[in-house]
Symmetry: C3
């Protein structure tokens, strides 16, 4: 038999949880802070130092990496992936976290399923269409869609 370093997903004891949080397992959640009245779907991963505000839904299959901050009352769809490493030097930053960049999501933001979120700032009340790739800061509320995501409708 082969041998390997075997880890398993968990809701780690160091996670800070608010009141009335529902988590569907299996999921991999560690070192982060999740506010009151949140729902976290299955097959999700939320990494350390992430903050998720009150009243958020994080749907199944979503991955939230370090350096992401999510405001209150946000909806993060299924299969959404956040990114902190843009391969600035032509490849992964590896252990050099000085190359990582943060993402800040405001309040009442809705991110459609299968969206990909590069390290950006997204303002309050923005709506990101399903399957979009967000590559730039979003500073005006509206509906953004496409690859790369562009404003398709004002709100």
């Amino acid at each position: 038999m082969h041998t390997y370093n075997q880890l398993s997903v968990s809701v780690a004891p160091d996670v800070v949880l608010g009141e009335n949080v529902t988590i569907v397992q299996p999921c991999n959640i560690y070192g982060c802070s999740i506010g009151n009245d949140c729902f976290i779907g299955p097959f999700t991963e939320i990494q350390k130092n992430v903050t998720v505000g009150d009243g958020c839904r994080v749907q199944s299959h979503t991955f939230i990496c370090e350096l992401v901050t999510i405001g209150a009352n946000c909806f993060i769809g299924h299969g959404v992936v956040f990114i902190n490493d843009v391969f600035a030097n032509g490849g992964p930053a590896g252990g050099d976290k000085s190359l990582w960049r943060p993402t800040k999501v405001g309040n009442h933001v809705s991110i459609g399923s299968n969206a990909t979120i590069l390290p950006v700032s997204i303002c309050n009340n923005a709506v990101i269409g399903a399957g979009s790739v967000v590559t730039k800061n979003i500073t005006v509320p509206g509906v953004y869609a496409g690859n790369p995501a562009k404003l398709v409708r004002h709100l």
Copy 2:
């Protein structure tokens, strides 16, 4: 230790299954109907009131939401995500299911991996390319690809 409402994925007892269905766990399948001779891969979620016809394959990492109906002999690739809420009012419908919209997939439809399917109707024998975002009804058999998906080849 923190406390939270802990749920786990399952194949719920209320699922209606045909003959000769294979399911790879873990997956989260509840309240739906799955026909004969289907294969359901791991890390999938199929919500209540979904119907999957006979002879379908639903590959790993795929999410099928409420109000989706899939015909017979369809191939749903890996990481495919269906959507019923288009944020019509600038945000999630939440509990107001009157804002949700249905998706109907015909027979012998093939949906490539990582595709995103907005609430649409897809005709028999259509082929959706991998990574596509389908935003409009597909009424003519053919190969559709891109974001948004467009006809790239007649069949």
Copy 3:
């Protein structure tokens, strides 16, 4: 109660593993070969006959299908999906593997999260942007992004 053929994900005994491999479960890994010093994240599937070279990271939610060969020191992001069946005859190849096509990823290749990789060859040192759909061979090192992926920056 319904009955069905119940399978579960695993790291199968037939997997060939190098030294110092870390695997986060649950994942579905079978019949493949994984080199030394690799990391395999949770919610991944790696199919039979896949080869992953030394020093690679395969992040969470990624699916690597048969006929994929990955070189050394590659970074495969989260939610990446490889494809071997391009529905050449207007639908899935099914059991006819003569219709499947291989993918070869070189060394020091970085593939961004949520990327979709059609059956292609990717040269050493290429960088694929997050959310991209790679439809053609990549023969010149550089950064490729979009759907379909195009060269956006030389390295």
